[in-house]
């Protein structure tokens, strides 16, 4: 794809998924459980962030986690990728029950994520940011790297190719060499998605991928998420406040309120659930 084509819309994007494509058009057959959380509780001192929550994420689905502010959604993601350690409950990933969990172990097991407030390496270029996502895939030892010879050089080139593909896919060729700190918010979010994709994750956690975006940016982002899910079969768990987006993108939705799970089901089921409506409208 050339530099000029960054403005082109969905029609000729890799995968060719139209932004308007609705989940209902595609028959979904997800049966294998990728991640299973049972009776998870997390508290900070006296504050109970998550109370006895159980739900699962099926392989290949798009799972949304929604809820009002302070419902414990981000805490949930932090539990899944090992930043927080729940006091109670079991987490079973790829059929194995976890004991000790650390972010780098989670990353090694194929869990990638983006952050609510965009956590990028601000001084580095788009290209380098996404290259960092390949860290775990690059295995050549320190010695070769210092010399920058033979295998290490080849490895660098191989991974660079993968990264260029991701850059093409996300249509950010024009900012390849720009330090990400200088980019507008919407593009930063896109670079962050790119970094997560570079990890070739089995489970992709997106924390408010469309926060602060305008309609066009949201449509682009939706398209990238759907294409990632459809073409690469990546399982996605996302937190999002825009209900339209949640309804369009997700296969199943889990609703949290004050750390408690109040609903779980398809978007239609959840949106007609009284508890959910109450939680959002603030009925006592």
């Amino acid at each position: 794809m050339s530099q000029g084509s960054t403005q082109t819309k969905a029609a000729d994007a890799p995968g060719g998924t139209a932004p308007s494509m609705h989940r209902d058009d595609v028959p979904q057959l997800h049966t294998e459980v990728l991640l299973d959380l049972t009776n998870v509780s997390l508290s900070f001192g006296g504050v109970k962030a998550i109370r006895d929550v159980s739900f699962n994420i099926l392989k290949g689905e798009v799972r949304a986690i929604i809820g009002p502010n302070g419902a414990g959604k981000t805490s949930m993601l932090n539990v899944i990728n090992g930043f927080y350690h729940p006091q109670q409950g079991t987490i079973c990933y790829k059929g194995k029950t976890r004991r000790v969990m650390r972010p780098y172990i989670a990353a090694g097991q194929g869990i990638a994520r983006t952050f609510q407030n965009v956590a990028l390496f601000k001084g580095m270029t788009t290209l380098d940011n996404i290259m960092v996502g390949r860290s775990l895939k690059m295995k050549r030892g320190l010695f070769w790297q210092i010399l920058r010879l033979g295998p290490a050089e080849r490895e660098e080139i191989e991974h660079r190719e993968v990264v260029e593909h991701i850059i093409d896919f996300l249509e950010i060729q024009h900012i390849r060499k720009t330090p990400v700190g200088k980019l507008p918010y919407g593009l930063q979010k896109r670079v962050e998605l790119g970094r997560a994709l570079a990890m070739e994750p089995d489970l992709l956690l997106l924390d408010e991928p469309m926060a602060g975006m305008n309609l066009e940016e949201k449509e682009d982002m939706s398209r990238f998420i759907l294409t990632t899910n459809d073409s690469f079969g990546t399982t996605i768990a996302l937190i999002e406040h825009d209900m339209g987006v949640v309804m369009d993108l997700s296969d199943r939705v889990v609703v949290l309120d004050h750390g408690i799970k109040i609903a779980d089901g398809t978007p239609d089921e959840v949106s007609s659930n009284h508890k959910v409506i109450d939680a959002y409208l603030g009925v006592a």
């Binding site: 930043f83 952050f115 990028l120 050549r140 290490a152 200088k182 507008p184």
Partner: protein, 318 residues
Amino acid sequence: MELAHKIFVAPFWEMSGAPDLFLQVLWEGFVAGTLYSLIALGFVLIFKASGVFNFAQGIMVVFGALSLVGLHQLGVPAWVALALCIGIMFVLAWTVERVVLRPLVNQPDIILFMATIGLSSFLIGLGEFIFGGEPKTMITAELGLPSGAIDFAVAGGFVSLQKIDIAAAVMSAVLVTVLAVFFHKTRIGRALRAVADDHQAAMSVGITLQQIWVIVWFAAGIVALATGIMWGARSDVSFALEIVALKALPVLILGGFTSIPGAIVGGLIIGITEKLAEFYWGPLVGGSIETWIPYFIALLFLWFRPQGLFGEKIIERV
């Protein structure tokens, strides 16, 4: 008028009147500058990766040099001693990560800075305990470093270059090049810059902070060892060397705390300026200009370019 002439005219007359002398002073400044650069480089490495100003860098220089000389005094062949010292630097890096840094994860930078002050006191004590406090002579010849001088005839006079100084300059250049390439072009280098920018994000892509910290402290240790050898060869190996490390502060302010090229250029500017100032303007005030002029230059720079010559400009979108 008389004074202005002495400050602004006479020194330059002197320079053009005796170019050989001028070149000699310039060379002295250049050599001192490369050594300042090396010390500053040690600081930059650790600051880049962890945002910590490592107060112990100076004592690491002394400790490296002392270990080398000490091991040799025990009858270990010079090259084996050098290899052992590199090993010691690794053990030091690993221990610092385990004992000092790991328990202080997520603490404010000032806490980590205090910890490095503690570390430097500890290393001074340990060094004196093991090797004693008296100055030692660097094992220059045993390490195959050249001695003597090369003289060049210049403009009717001659300039004399110490071979050891040439070796120091070459070695600094090699070390700096290797480190710069390593940190900018390799996976670990990228991981290191990633850690410097955002701990959480770095962890989420599978980078382990612990590993990165051991690597940078080890790299800083190697740089310290090299600095110790070169400074030790020019003077003695003693705890007074630690003071030299303070010269790295103006260098860092000049070059920027996060820039490897900045450390080099900053070091050279400071080295050359202080020697020229000492030689040509020193007599006006009774000498000793070189002890304060670096800080004076640093202060000037703080006015005009607080992030340093090469420092990353702080990008803040509001």
